[in-house]
Amino acid sequence: MIGISFTPLIPYIPEFLRGIRATIIYASVSLCLACVVGLVVAMARRSAAAPLRWVAQGYVDLIRGTPALVQIFFIYFGLPALGIYIAAPLAGIIAIGLNSAGYLAEIFRAGIAGVDGGQIEAGRSIGMSRNQTFRRVVLPQALRLAVPAAAGEFTSLVKGTSLLSTISITELTRVAQQVVSVTFRPIEAYLAVALVYLVLNTAISQASAWLERALRRGEGLA
């Protein structure tokens, strides 16, 4: 039995740092995509046009009812069979972003539904249009209501980027795999990587808690 020692990993610190950077970048870009698509889907689910609602509902069901790994494989390995070639980094971002969007859509929808109807009536009663009322009254309050659940989804997204190691994207988890294959130190390497994910997600939770407090005081988005 070999004792635990992190020393053999030290030469690979630059690789780990590159992996951390890649994970943060993939997570951030996917997150932006997820927020935009998620909001659009959430709004489509409240649309007056029934077909739009069905499409949005179908999207949410599809995303939530299938494994993220299958979605990633479908986009990276499946689409080329249809003549659609997407480079791994872009395919990864699209897959993770669209996956998270399915969950965020439900979170945003719940936030929007949670805004008191009287708020909308008040906006309309002073002459604001439907759009103005949505943008200026409903959305800021809906986002505030959505903060805790959305933060939970963001941490899922960060963890989900580890799946990208399967399509040869060199993010943190894949760096760990590579380091293990040369150092034979799986416990140390995966412990280190786990710790990094933990730190990233703790930061997200803290930021979310801070944002919630700020919004409760009426600052921030308001």
Partner: protein
Amino acid sequence: MTPLPVTAAKPAAAPGHPVLRLRGLVKTFKTHPVLCGIDLDVARGSTVAIIGPSGSGKSTLLRCINHLEKPTAGVIEIDGKPTESHTSASRRERERELNAMRATVGMVFQRFNLFSHRTALANVMEGLLVVKRLPRAEARQAALAMLDRVNMAHKVDAHPAQLSGGQQQRVAIARALVMQPSLMLFDEATSALDPEMVQEVLNVMRSLSEDGLTMLVVTHEMGFAREVADRAIFMDAGLVIEDDVPERLFTRPQRERTKAFLRNVRR
């Protein structure tokens, strides 16, 4: 300090036009009739109180006037202008007309409905900025003056959650009033208030009435209806049952249903 004007400069409507004119207003929810043909004129500068049992259609009547509820049938005219012109082509255009109409009709809700993510001042500025598109400085000045008018100058930076019910309702009145509406609708504005806060809101309403604001007030405050209103209307089952000067309606009601209702509220 001279009192601030609370009404708009008189619009181009012909003199003698009632501010509000209703003819045959009907509202049906699914198959359930709530308003069964309401005719009503409200003269400029008058305060009209509407009383009646719950479920009589009072609130629905107010909500139909500014189309928060879509009327099933009938004519609504504000300042002589029908709220629904059947000539305008597109849905978008009709929507725009309705928005413009709502900007001229203020509404005060039972549950205040202040924008909970904005300060008192920002609540009052919102319509000026977004609907009237005033420059920020101008909107701010008008909003501050209106908050002063409802005795809320000391709380302009507070969020709704930091205000009492009575304070919130006064801010809500300022938010509606700052748009210089030709007509103000009060939908049970004091019903959700703790008893000790009812009076501060009624005082503001009384002073607005004295300043000549045109007001349609659905209320359970019989004292207010009697002392402040120029006219009192008793509604039941979606109909105007009796329409008279308050003194007579409260002391010598003509109709059986009015008598029964007043007996019950007095106990």
